[in-house]
Symmetry: C2
Subunit: 418 residues, 2 copies
C-alpha cells in the first residue's frame, strides 16, 4: 500500500524514539491510553510507522516551554509514514495528519515539519498549476529572460483612477508584471471592480498599441463566491492574472478558485513568518509549498535576497529552487510554480539572484526598487532589465553599469542592498 511520509526536526524531554511513538500514535490510531478497539490488526492496517530517526544533539533546557520536564532534552530528526488509506488523496486531511494536533504535545519541546513526500496518487488527484512558468510567459509575452514586476505603491490609499495612472506609467516604462499589494483587497476606498475597470482600460489600450499585454495580478482575496465573481470580472475585462493571500483562503479555498478560474493564480504567502520565524516551531517552506502547488498555485512568493525581513539569503534561494523541483518522479507532471522574488528588491540583487537560482524562469518584483529610482519609473524598470541582461550575459554588473545609466543610478542609490 502507498504510504505518505513526513520528516520532522524535534526536541523532546523523552528519548526520541518514545517521542516519535507518541506522535505516530496521536496522529493515527492511538490516544493517551490503549483502548479495546485498538487491535493489533487495526494498528497494523492504520498505524503510523517510524521510518527513520537520527539524534543530533542534547541540551539541558527545553527550547520551548514544555509541560513534561527532564534533565536532558534530545534533538534530532524523525521520519514517519502513514498508509494512504487513512486520509486518501485529500490535501486538507493530509494537513490535519502531518501538521495537526502534534505541535502542542507535551512530549516535544520543539517540532518543525521539514518535508512531506506525497505518493504518486496525488499526481492523479490534483491538477496543480494550470499555467506555471510557460503559461505565465505566454500570457505576458516575455521569453528568455526573468520577468520584471512591481507592486503598486503606496500599498493602500490610491483610488482606482490613481492606480490606473500608475499602471499607465509603469507600462510605458516597460514593465512585464504589476501586482496589487496584499493589503489592497476590495475595500471601499478602492473597490476591486472599479480598479479593474480603470486599470484594464489602460492595459488593453497599451496592449493594442504595442502588441504585448502587461500582466496585472488583481488581489481578489475575499469570500469564495466573491472571489469567483471577481475572477470572472477580471477575465471578462481582459485581465490575465489574479492574486490571492494563501493563508486567508486555506487549501480548500485555493482549490475552489483553481477549479473555477482559468487565469494564473499569483499566490501571496503573507503570514508566513508565523511558520518560519522560530527555529523551534513551524513548517519548512519546502513542505509548505508542496501543498499549495498541488492545490494549484502558479506563482509562489519566496522573499528576496538582502530582503527587508529576517530570512537569510540561503533560505530564500532554497525556497526558489523548491517551487521548481518536480513533486513526483517518472512521467508525472512537475507541478512547478514560478518563484516570485519580492521584498526590498532592486537592481542590486538581480545578478546574485540569477546566479543562485541558475535559471531565468522567475518573476522579479521591485516596488521601491522601481518607483524610488531617481530617473522615474521607466528608468527604474530599465535598471532591472539592464541588471538582468548583465547577469544573463555573465558581465560584471559594475562593468555593465558603465554605459547603462539607469543601472548605474540604481546601483548607486541601492548600494546598501549589495
Amino acid at each position: 500500500m502507498e504510504r505518505l511520509q513526513a520528516r520532522y526536526e524535534l526536541e523532546s524531554p523523552l528519548e526520541l524514539e518514545r517521542a516519535a511513538e507518541v506522535i505516530a500514535g496521536e496522529q493515527s490510531c492511538g490516544t493517551f491510553m490503549r483502548l479495546p478497539g485498538e487491535t493489533d490488526a487495526l494498528r497494523e492496517r492504520s498505524g503510523a510507522r517510524i521510518e527513520a530517526l537520527t539524534v543530533t544533539g542534547t541540551s539541558s533546557t527545553p527550547s520551548l516551554p514544555c509541560r513534561k520536564s527532564s534533565d536532558t532534552y534530545t534533538r534530532g530528526e524523525v521520519t514517519l509514514s502513514w498508509p494512504l488509506d487513512n486520509m486518501g488523496t485529500s490535501l486538507t486531511n493530509v494537513l490535519a495528519t502531518v501538521a495537526g494536533n502534534l505541535f502542542e504535545l507535551a512530549e516535544v519541546s520543539a517540532l518543525r515539519l521539514l518535508d512531506v513526500t506525497f505518493p504518486p496518487a496525488f499526481a492523479e488527484a490534483y491538477a496543480g498549476p494550470a499555467f506555471g512558468v510557460e503559461g505565465t510567459r505566454r500570457l505576458a509575452g516575455v521569453e528568455g529572460r526573468p520577468m520584471i514586476g512591481t507592486i503598486i505603491k503606496p500599498s493602500v490609499g490610491l483610488s482606482p483612477e490613481e492606480t490606473a495612472a500608475m499602471v499607465s506609467d509603469l507600462i510605458d516604462g516597460g514593465i512585464d508584471f504589476i501586482k496589487d499589494d496584499e493589503l489592497q483587497g476590495n475595500g471601499p476606498h478602492c473597490p476591486l471592480q472599479a480598479r479593474v475597470d480603470a486599470v484594464m482600460r489602460v492595459v488593453n489600450d497599451r496592449a493594442q498599441r504595442v502588441g504585448r499585454k502587461a500582466m496585472v495580478a488583481f488581489n481578489i482575496t475575499g469570500e469564495i463566491d466573491e472571489m469567483k465573481r471577481n475572477a470572472d470580472y477580471v477575465q471578462a475585462a481582459g485581465g490575465t492574472c489574479v492574486m490571492v493571500s494563501l493563508h486567508s483562503l486555506g487549501l480548500a479555498g485555493l482549490g475552489a478558485i483553481r477549479r473555477h478560474v482559468s487565469l494564473p493564480l499569483h499566490c501571496h504567502r503573507n503570514g508566513w513568518g508565523l511558520f518560519s520565524r522560530s527555529p523551534d516551531i513551524g513548517v519548512s517552506y519546502v513542505a509548505w509549498q508542496k501543498f499549495w502547488r498541488l492545490a494549484g498555485a502558479d506563482h509562489l512568493h519566496v522573499n528576496g535576497l538582502a530582503n527587508k525581513f529576517s530570512e537569510s539569503d540561503a533560505s530564500v534561494i532554497a525556497s526558489a529552487k523548491a517551487v521548481g523541483t518536480p513533486l513526483f518522479g517518472g512521467d508525472a507532471p512537475s507541478f512547478a510554480a514560478m518563484p516570485v522574488f519580492s521584498s526590498g528588491q532592486t537592481a542590486a540583487q538581480m545578478a546574485p539572484t540569477f546566479a543562485a537560482v541558475g535559471t531565468e524562469d522567475f518573476l522579479y518584483c521591485a516596488g521601491g526598487g522601481i518607483m524610488g529610482h531617481p530617473g522615474g519609473t521607466a528608468a527604474g524598470v530599465m535598471s532591472l532589465r539592464q541588471a538582468a541582461e548583465a547577469a544573463m550575459a555573465g558581465i560584471p554588473i559594475d562593468d555593465y553599469a558603465r554605459d547603462h545609466g539607469e543601472l548605474a543610478a540604481a546601483l548607486s542609490l541601492f548600494k546598501d542592498r549589495r
Copy 2:
C-alpha cells in the same frame, strides 16, 4: 471613520516606538523607503496609527534569530489602528493586515498578535454562528447541564459498520454528542457517505425509540464542493452537525460552508500549536477565535484541563471564556460559540472545568475517558454525567462518588488527571 485595532506583544533591537512605526508603515501605505505617491494626505487617510505603547522589559539577547542586532532588545506591547476603509469589512483582508507580512520583519525579534478589535460594521457584514449554544442544545435535546461528548476511537482504522457499532454502544450509554476524529476524513477505508449511511441508521433508529437524537459531528473536511455535497448528504440523512478542520479551510473556506449549510459547524483547531506554542511568535487564542466566530464557527475547540498537550490550565480557561464573550457592545448579537473541551478529558476534570468557566454551556468531550472506563462505554458516559451533577450541585466529587459507582471507578482510574 471607524478604525480596526490590533494589539501586539513584541521585542525589537530598535526602540519600540521605531519598531511600531515600521510595522504601521509596512502594513498600511509605507514601504522600506518613502515614495513619491506617499503624500501627507494619503498617509493621513490610509496610514496605520500607533494608539498605545508600553515597554515591559529589556534583554541583551534576541528571543528569535534576527537580522538586525543590538546591545539591547526591548519588549513591550503596542496597539495599532487602521482606517476600516483600507480593507473594508473583509475578514480575509483584515487577516492580511493584522497577521500578514509583519512576523518576518527584521525590526522585531519577537511578535505575537494578542487581540483584534473589530469595529461594529463587522456585526453587519458577517452572520456569525448560525446555531451557537442554543441551537446546538435544541438539536441535541440537552438543557441545563454540560453536553457530554466523545470522539470515535481508534481515530482511524474502523470501517463504517464498525463505527456505527461504536455509535450504537455510545448512544445506548447515554451520550449527547459524538465526533469523528480530525484524522478521519473521507479516505478509502471509511468513506464519509458510507459512514453517514451506517451511523445515521443507528442514530435515527435510537432517536425514534427514545425521542432524543444524539448529535454526530461528521468530519466533512475536504474540497469546498466536496464539503457542500457531503454536508447536504449528512443533512438529508437526518444528521445534525458537521465538523471541519479550520486551518485546512481557511476563513474563506469556512465562510463558504457557513453560507451553504444549515447545520452547526463543529470547528477543530488542529495545527493550533503552530500559533501558540512559542512565547515569541504567534497569535493568541483570543485574537484567533474572533475571526472564526465572525466567519460562522458554532463550536470551537479549547483543549481541556490537565490535557495531554503543553497548554496550561489558565490558558484553556481563558480560551473557553473568550469564545462566549460578546464580540461587540450594544445591541449587536454576541456571536458566541460553544466551547469544546477535549484532549485527555475524564470525569476527574469536570468539576474544576465547571468551576472555572462558571457556566454549564459547554461541550465536554472524552475519548479514552469514556471508552477506557473499566465498566464499559455506558459506565464511562455515566461517570461524566455524575461528575457534572456533582459539580452543578456543588457537592465535592469524592463525596458524590461514594454512592455513584461509575464516578468512583473513573476517579480511581484517572487519578493522575486531578
